[in-house]
Symmetry: C2
Amino acid sequence: MKAFHRSSDAVRGPNFYRAALAVALAAMAPALAADSLTGPLVLKAQGSFFVGGVTEHTDATTGTPGGFLFPNPDDIQVNQMYVQYQIPEGAGRHVPVVLLHGCCLSGKTWETTPDGRMGWGEYFVRKHHAVYIPDQSSRARSGFDATTINEVRLGTQPPSALPNIFTFGRNGAWQLFRFGPAYPAVFSDEQFPVEAIDEFGKQVIPDLNSTLPTPNPTYANLAALAVKLNGAILVGHSESGFFPEEAALTNPAGVAGLISIEGVCTTNLSAEQIATLAKIPTLVIYGDHLGDVPSVSGFWLGFFQGCQQYVEQINAAGGDATMLHLPDAALFGNSHMLMQDKNNLQVADLILKWINQHVERE
Amino acid sequence: MKAFHRSSDAVRGPNFYRAALAVALAAMAPALAADSLTGPLVLKAQGSFFVGGVTEHTDATTGTPGGFLFPNPDDIQVNQMYVQYQIPEGAGRHVPVVLLHGCCLSGKTWETTPDGRMGWGEYFVRKHHAVYIPDQSSRARSGFDATTINEVRLGTQPPSALPNIFTFGRNGAWQLFRFGPAYPAVFSDEQFPVEAIDEFGKQVIPDLNSTLPTPNPTYANLAALAVKLNGAILVGHSESGFFPEEAALTNPAGVAGLISIEGVCTTNLSAEQIATLAKIPTLVIYGDHLGDVPSVSGFWLGFFQGCQQYVEQINAAGGDATMLHLPDAALFGNSHMLMQDKNNLQVADLILKWINQHVERE
């Protein structure tokens, strides 16, 4: 894996161009300061596309035999992964960042926070990284395969064939995501904007991953995306915390860095798998209050311990893995949704620093 | 409804600022020409938020009794509408545009086309309009209420209670969307990028509108969005072709203009409803080959005729409604997905001209 080095398009060009730019910068600094948090955002490009996907023949496209003008048997696309991206002016050789959401959420995770502040998606763009935000295969704009649900409705499959649609409500989220010991009690140093809990609840959408084949196509789709980008840092969160590693085990060619946020680390990997992952700089991040919500403390402390073990395994194999437990960096009160916490940009700055030191190696 | 007038932030300010800007423009035209199709895109702001949504108590959040640490009974958010937006530098008083997708699709409709060209979302931003792109309530990043599906799985509801999940495949889309008479035959002047049919198929996702209460909450959500924006043009397509009108009938306060693309017009409105709608400039758009796909020609010709009747009703009530049948404007071969057709920006230019003349009234 080559190291990535920073360069800036903004200082290239002939003297005339540079002189004119200096005048422009003096008069119009806000319009050009791409790393300002408040000035205009200057994009070189943006858009969206799909990675992966296969054609599947289905007998039940509409759920109603002979319904609404459509032939019921038809060929549909399934398992594709929707990806939205922005490339800032002056990204230079900064490594692209892929931000993948967790369970029962979508790419919205990385956008405007529930209380209206800037999310990591735009922040990383303003910090000169191209940013790619997928919806997991079978979620949100990636769509899902409704065939089984339609077949149960048509009577050709039993109700037991229905997928386990995974979602959760306010009370479940409050505890599992460590906003406080139980709704509506809040930790005194809680960083999640709990006043916007219902706005957060609107981001919580049904998770249909149980409709997917094994292995989850999102792994290969992430790996293919990294190859397409000619190198990218893959970031997973919660349910998808270990998806970046799974992508690298599928095909490490494009994976420049691995960041696992508040996920479950796999601790029973083979020596060969560990060797593959040890070639890629890895950062594991956990927030605060891991043992402070009675109903889920065993859950979080166990995951944290598993990830500590994983980091040790990678380093023992000659790798470069870092465990960032935010309280150790003097950031306290962070929830499971740390990319939306009130100090979310401070957490992002720690990631940017790690990218700089471990992936781009300035 | 007040008329909207164009102004440009870029020419405001003291002489010094203007002089410096002139130098900058000379040297860096690509970086500042926001209406260029190839230069950088300069955004004043971007982000996402939800409109609407209610708290619902559900007995089945996970689909598995006692499953995975979550209490099954919980309070979830339903009926909300996800909205993503971009505001260009220099939008001035240009009217914001809300672009709403149709059946079995998402906000992706308005982004990069299946063959990789610029979509209307970015194009309207480059033409100085703030653009708001929702996912309909119950679709994509807006999520949906999975309670009934989970209840059928749990055995507390019969399979007949399952929602009619609406979707379609390649053959259905090919005919209904008029890419040609039947897959894979193409009209000689077809404008849809049929070589990217499978990429288009990846945009087609299950439509769960049948899980929604009546009236569809998207109507009120659109109306609330228009009010929040202090005036907006609402654009609907196909399934949502008449949603802008439904929004205006819910609350016309924020609706500055109505654009219905290839949808079904309601022709049995009351005089009072017609009077409400006649106060808002209206544009109805249809593409080509309406009668040329044997399996659906009655369908499209009937809808077109209904919309012609609707336009006449609005104008008879003193309104300002325009029927734009693209072949009448010398644009031929346009499909149902005209915002993705090869000449999509030419079609957009006709809309921009209409906005200029009928809504902003220059």
